[in-house]
C-alpha cells in the first residue's frame, strides 16, 4: 500500500447528540512526527482512541501500516503509547514497567534484559531500574513511560499530551528530548497536544483540529504563515483580522476595501470580487513608522491607542480607521507613545486572505 503508517479514513464518532469526530481524514507518513493539535474538546482524544482501539468509530476505517485494524482489539495493534498522566504500573519497578510489553510478548529472558537495558539507556535511566515510579520525578516518570512505549519497537508511537503534567521549564527540555529520540529512532509518531508552541517546535507536520474536524494539515511553517481559516490563525499565535470587501483581483493580488482604506493582499484560492473576507496578518509582521515616513505599500496613518511593554517586545494597539484596530508587536528600538500619530505598514507579502 501507500506510505501511510497511520490512516483515519472518513472516521465519524458520535456520543449521543455530540459529534466528537466528523468525517476525519488523517494520515501519518512513515517515519514522520505528526502533531494533532486542537483545544480541549475538539475531538483529538477521540481520534487518538480510534487509533488505539479504545473507541470504535461509528463510520469510517482505521489503518495501521496499511492494515485495516478497525475491528482489531487494542492489545493486538502493536502500538507504543505515552500517556499524559504517565500511567506507569505503580506496583512494578522501572525495570518491570519497561519489561512489561516484552513479558506479555513472551520475549526470551536473556534478550528481554538486553532490550530493557537498551531502552533505559536511551532515556538515561539505567541507574533507576530498581526504583518504583512514585520515587521518581514527573519528568523521570515520563521518560520511563517513553521507554516502556519504545522497548518492543512498535510500528507507531502515540503520545497523548505527554508533557502537560510537567512544569514549564521541564516541558521545554523534554520537548527536545522527545523530538531527538523520535528522529534518532526514525519511528512514526503521532503527538496529541493542545499546546501550539509544542506542536510547532516538534512536528514534521501539524494537523489542526476544531469541533471534530481537521481544519488544516501542513508543516509548522505553512500552518503558522498561511493559516487557511480564522480558527487556525487564531489558535496558533497572535493574529489581526481585518474585515473587508474584495474590490478587484489583479495579477493574483486582491484589492480589499476596509472602510476608506484599500489593502493589497495576495488572493487566496477561490477569492471572488465582491466577496466579504478577512485579511489576516501577525502582529509582529506589522511595521510602525513615524508619521512623516514616505508612503510605501499598504501604509496608513493611525493613532497609537494603547501600548504594553512586554520586555523584548512592545505591544501596540493602533487605530487606523473607525472600528479598525490593529495589534502590532515590535522590538523596542523605535518607540511611540500613546496618542501619537504613526504610519502603519502591512507588508503585502505578510497578509493573507481568509475566506469565511
Amino acid at each position: 500500500m501507500d506510505d501511510n503508517m497511520i490512516e483515519l479514513r472518513n472516521v465519524t464518532k458520535r456520543y449521543g447528540p455530540i459529534v466528537a469526530n466528523a468525517n476525519v481524514n488523517l494520515s501519518v507518513r512513515r517515519g514522520e512526527l505528526m502533531t494533532l493539535l486542537g483545544p480541549s474538546g475538539c475531538g483529538k482524544t477521540t481520534a487518538l482512541r480510534c487509533i488505539t482501539g479504545q473507541v470504535t468509530p461509528d463510520e469510517g476505517r482505521v489503518f495501521i501500516d496499511g492494515v485495516d485494524v478497525t475491528d482489531v482489539p487494542t492489545h493486538k495493534r502493536e502500538l507504543g503509547m505515552v500517556f499524559q498522566n504517565f500511567a506507569l504500573f505503580p506496583h512494578m519497578t522501572v525495570y518491570e514497567n519497561v519489561e512489561f510489553p516484552l513479558m506479555i510478548r513472551r520475549v526470551p529472558q536473556g534478550q528481554r534484559r538486553e532490550m530493557v537495558m537498551d531502552a533505559l539507556r536511551l532515556i538515561r535511566m539505567e541507574s533507576y531500574a530498581q526504583h518504583y515510579p512514585r520515587q521518581l520525578s514527573g519528568g523521570q516518570q515520563q521518560r520511563v513511560g517513553l521507554a516502556r512505549a519504545l522497548v518492543y519497537h512498535p510500528k507507531v508511537l502515540l503520545l497523548d499530551e505527554p508533557l502537560s503534567n510537567l512544569d514549564a521549564k521541564l516541558r521545554e527540555e523534554m520537548r527536545f528530548e522527545i523530538r531527538d529520540l523520535i528522529s534518532r529512532l526514525g519511528i512514526t509518531a503521532l503527538y496529541v497536544t493542545h499546546d501550539q508552541a509544542e506542536a510547532l517546535a516538534l512536528s514534521d507536520r501539524v494537523a489542526v483540529m476544531n469541533a471534530g474536524r481537521i481544519e488544516q494539515v501542513g508543516t509548522p511553517d505553512e500552518i503558522y504563515e498561511s493559516p487557511r481559516s480564522r480558527f487556525v490563525a487564531d489558535f496558533i499565535g497572535l493574529s489581526n483580522f481585518i474585515r473587508g470587501k474584495v474590490l478587484a483581483i489583479e495579477r493574483g493580488m486582491a484589492i480589499v476595501a476596509v472602510n476608506h482604506i484599500k489593502l493589497m493582499v495576495p488572493a487566496a484560492e477561490g477569492t471572488q470580487v465582491g466577496q466579504d473576507i478577512l485579511v489576516f496578518i501577525r502582529p509582529n509582521d506589522v511595521r510602525l513608522f513615524p508619521v512623516d515616513f514616505a508612503k510605501a505599500e499598504n501604509t496608513f496613518e493611525g493613532v497609537v491607542h494603547k501600548l504594553t511593554y512586554l520586555g523584548d517586545t512592545i505591544d501596540y494597539r493602533v487605530i487606523v480607521a473607525e472600528g479598525v484596530q490593529i495589534r502590532v508587536q515590535t522590538d523596542g528600538k523605535v518607540r511611540f507613545n500613546a496618542g501619537e500619530a504613526v504610519k502603519v505598514c502591512l507588508p503585502e507579502a505578510r497578509c493573507r486572505v481568509i475566506l469565511e
Binding site: H75, K76, G80, M81, F83, A87, H91, I104, R105, R134
Partner: protein
C-alpha cells in the same frame, strides 16, 4: 546572663520531656491495665484482698477453660463462622464495591448510606428481627445462620474498603496495559489483581476480626452447637469463675494479636501506601 538563660532553658526542656514521658506511660498503662489484670488473674492462684500480685502462679485455669468451656469446639465454631462470614461478605462486596467504585450508579450516596446502615444502628435493635426470621428458616444454631447474621455488619466494611480500593484503580493504567499488548485476562492478572490485592486483603482482615469479635448478633442466633468465643466468655462470667473467664479472655485475644502482627509484617506497607494513582 546567657548561661542562666541556657540553664533555665534546659530545665524547661527536661520538664517538657518529663511531662511527655509521664503522659505517654500513663496512657500506655491506661490502655494495657485491663489486659494486665486479666493476664494476672488467669495465671494467679489465691489472689484475693489487697495484694498487688498473685501469690502463686498456675496454668490450671487454662486447663479448666480448655475442658469445661470446651475451647477446641468453641474456637472451631468461631473460626468456621468467621470463615463463612468473610467468604459471603467478600463475594457480596466484590461486585458491589466494583459498581460503587467504578461505575456511574444513580443515587450512589443514598445507596452507600443504606449499605452502611447496619453499622450505624445498634445491632441489638435488628438482631431480634434477624433471630425471628432465622427461627422460622431454621437457621438458628447453625454455622451458616450465625455467619449470615454477621454478614449484616461485615459486608458494609468489605463494601466500603473494596469500593474505595476499586475507585483508586486508575483506568488509564489498565489502558496502558492494553496498549502494551496485554489481553483483558493478562491485564487482570498482571495489573488489576496486584493493585487491588492489598485492598482485598485488608477487607478480609477487617471482616474476619469483625466476625471473630461479634457478640450481640451471635447472642441472638447461637445455640448449643454454635457457641463462639465471645459468647462463651460472657457465659463464663455468669458461671462465676473469674479466673477461668480471664483465661478465656486471653485465649480470645491471642488470634487478634496474631492478625495484628500479620498485618504489620506480611502486608508490605509500600504496596498499601504510595497509592494506586501511579503518581
Amino acid at each position: 546572663m546567657t548561661a542562666l538563660a541556657k540553664r533555665y532553658w534546659h530545665a524547661l526542656i527536661n520538664q517538657k520531656k518529663l511531662f511527655i514521658y509521664t503522659f505517654l506511660w500513663s496512657f500506655f498503662l491506661w490502655i494495657t491495665s485491663p489486659f494486665l489484670i486479666i493476664l494476672l488473674k488467669s495465671v494467679g492462684r489465691n489472689w484475693f484482698g489487697k495484694r498487688w500480685l498473685p501469690p502463686e502462679l498456675t496454668l490450671d485455669w487454662y486447663k479448666w477453660a480448655l475442658t469445661i468451656a470446651n475451647i477446641p469446639q468453641v474456637l472451631s465454631n468461631t473460626l468456621i463462622i468467621a470463615a463463612i462470614a468473610v467468604t459471603i461478605s467478600t463475594l457480596l462486596a466484590l461486585p458491589t464495591g466494583w459498581a460503587l467504585g467504578r461505575r456511574k450508579v444513580p443515587a450512589k450516596e443514598v445507596l452507600t448510606s443504606i449499605i452502611l446502615l447496619p453499622r450505624m444502628i445498634p445491632p441489638i435493635a435488628y438482631a431480634l428481627g434477624i433471630a425471628q426470621i432465622f427461627y422460622r428458616l431454621h437457621l438458628v444454631d447453625t454455622h451458616l445462620g450465625v455467619a449470615l447474621a454477621h454478614v449484616a455488619i461485615c459486608a458494609p466494611y468489605a463494601i466500603l474498603v473494596l469500593s474505595s480500593t476499586f475507585e483508586g484503580l486508575d483506568e488509564r493504567v489498565l489502558e496502558a496495559a492494553a496498549v502494551c499488548g496485554a489481553s483483558q485476562l493478562r491485564t487482570f492478572f498482571h495489573v488489576t489483581l496486584p493493585l487491588v490485592l492489598p485492598g482485598i486483603l485488608s477487607s478480609i482482615i477487617f471482616t474476619f476480626t469483625t466476625s471473630y469479635n461479634e457478640f450481640t448478633l451471635t447472642l441472638m442466633t447461637y445455640g448449643p452447637h454454635t457457641i463462639t468465643l465471645p459468647v462463651r466468655t460472657y457465659l463464663a462470667v455468669g458461671e462465676g469463675y473469674w479466673e477461668v473467664t480471664s483465661a478465656l479472655s486471653i485465649i480470645l485475644i491471642i488470634p487478634s494479636l496474631f492478625v495484628l502482627f500479620m498485618v504489620q509484617r506480611q502486608v508490605q506497607p509500600e504496596k498499601l501506601v504510595g497509592g494506586f494513582k501511579g503518581v
